[in-house]
Symmetry: C2
Subunit: 255 residues, 2 copies
């Protein structure tokens, strides 16, 4: 298995142990049979976010169902303690894009947040979850990011866990350079710091929201440069920097 | 003018000097009148990549044409010496996305390159340029990235200027961590280093291409982390890291 031609990977809910049988959903059966053109005896790779990654063989594949047998452990489960991303939903295609790219870049939790300037009023967390699963399957993750129910900014902030730093993507020019902030977190030591990013809507945060954020100890405004970035570009840029400076792409030992 | 409610910006070809008159294209007239709902006497902001950024007033706006008078210099022209991005065109929406985000993230030149595994065989550089202009207008740039004619990998490499480091987004796992490589460039001193990124197609580079790249002095493979990234995610991640570590978002003094 090379990174270029990975086997078909499926995220499943069931527990995975050697020799275990497994039924898959109608959508998964369609995907295996009609999209990937697989059939009885072909191999796939399974993960469920708890039991690691396993090879499996297709026992049967009918139009609306399929059965697999779990074979061999390929990778033991490991923690994927990536950052959280709290983001204001934007246009549909751009929000889908955020979910896909955030999953590829290692986010562990996605928190949709309705801010004052958010134009979108309804979102479908199940659709978000389907996108996240697809991106997790493709990107070789062992977990799928958790998709939280949407909430407004006040309860998000009130329920934010103490000790998890919240990096606010600050368009006002008042933030600290993101590489400096992330390098500071990295150099604190004590294991991978838990952090989250907060990304606003197309129209930015309202002045009252910026005021409120500015008063919170666990919030740091970060600056992404002199150009005006779209909301999705800003979220992706911040996560890419996290990945490069603190995540799996970080140099060891410390730069 | 705040970053949240910027004035309407237009990229124009004509020279810009105080008091100068200017005719705009049909598409620009439509945009000002019908999309932005502006009319005679309203202000816009102009740039042409050479003469800085100017305020201007709308003299007339008919269905198919418009005339403006240039007023005051807002920002003098400054160099925008961002990295180059050589990229294999991928699916249409993802390629559009690369052009938009690369422009926001400060790229100075976009080089479409057909590699062995590139599925797309025809591209339209004029369409690319229209996307880049729109992103430059929105992101407050003073230049529009140059869009090169597409070429295959061999002539791209043969014509690559000596002294411009080419960072190849290496999916094989053999690259050096991107933050380490960029920090190394930054710490060499001598002004902003000129560099470029090379991003492959969905199917990755062919083994023969990887071999050829590996033998070139000016090419360095960079690693973006343990997950498999989509081609567009990889390109944008690399540019976001450049922006954070070497570009306008970099901390001064050096971290």
């Amino acid at each position: 298995m090379t990174p270029y031609k990975p086997k078909t990977r499926l995220f499943v809910d069931a527990g995975l142990t050697a020799g275990g049988g497994l039924e898959i959903t109608e959508a998964q059966a369609y995907y295996l049979g009609h999209v990937m053109r697989l059939g009885t005896g072909d191999g796939v790779v399974l993960f469920n976010g708890r039991d690691g990654e396993w090879s499996a063989a297709i026992d049967s594949l009918a139009k609306k169902q399929g059965a697999l047998t779990v074979e061999k452990l390929l990778r033991p489960q490991s923690a994927e303690p990536g950052p959280w991303l709290a983001f204001a939903p934007i246009k549909k295609a751009s929000t889908d894009f955020i979910i896909e790219k955030a999953t590829e870049l290692g986010v562990s939790r996605l928190c949709p947040v309705f801010t004052k300037n958010t134009n979108t009023t309804r979102i479908n967390p199940d659709r978000f979850r389907a996108h996240a699963i697809e991106a997790a399957e493709r990107s070789q993750r062992l977990t799928v990011p958790e998709i939280m129910e949407p909430q407004t900014l006040d309860p998000l902030i009130a329920g934010w866990p103490p000790g998890r730093i919240l990096l606010h993507l600050d368009e006002s020019g008042g933030g600290r350079p993101i590489a400096e902030v992330l390098a500071g977190l990295r150099d604190q030591g004590g294991g991978e710091p838990s952090c989250g990013f907060l990304s606003g809507p197309e129209g930015g945060f309202d002045a009252s929201e910026l005021d409120a954020l500015g008063k919170l100890d666990f919030v740091t405004g970060v600056d992404l440069g002199p150009r005006v970035l779209r909301a999705d570009t800003a979220a992706l840029s911040a996560l890419a920097c996290w990945q490069a400076l603190l995540g799996g792409a970080a140099a060891k030992p410390v730069l």
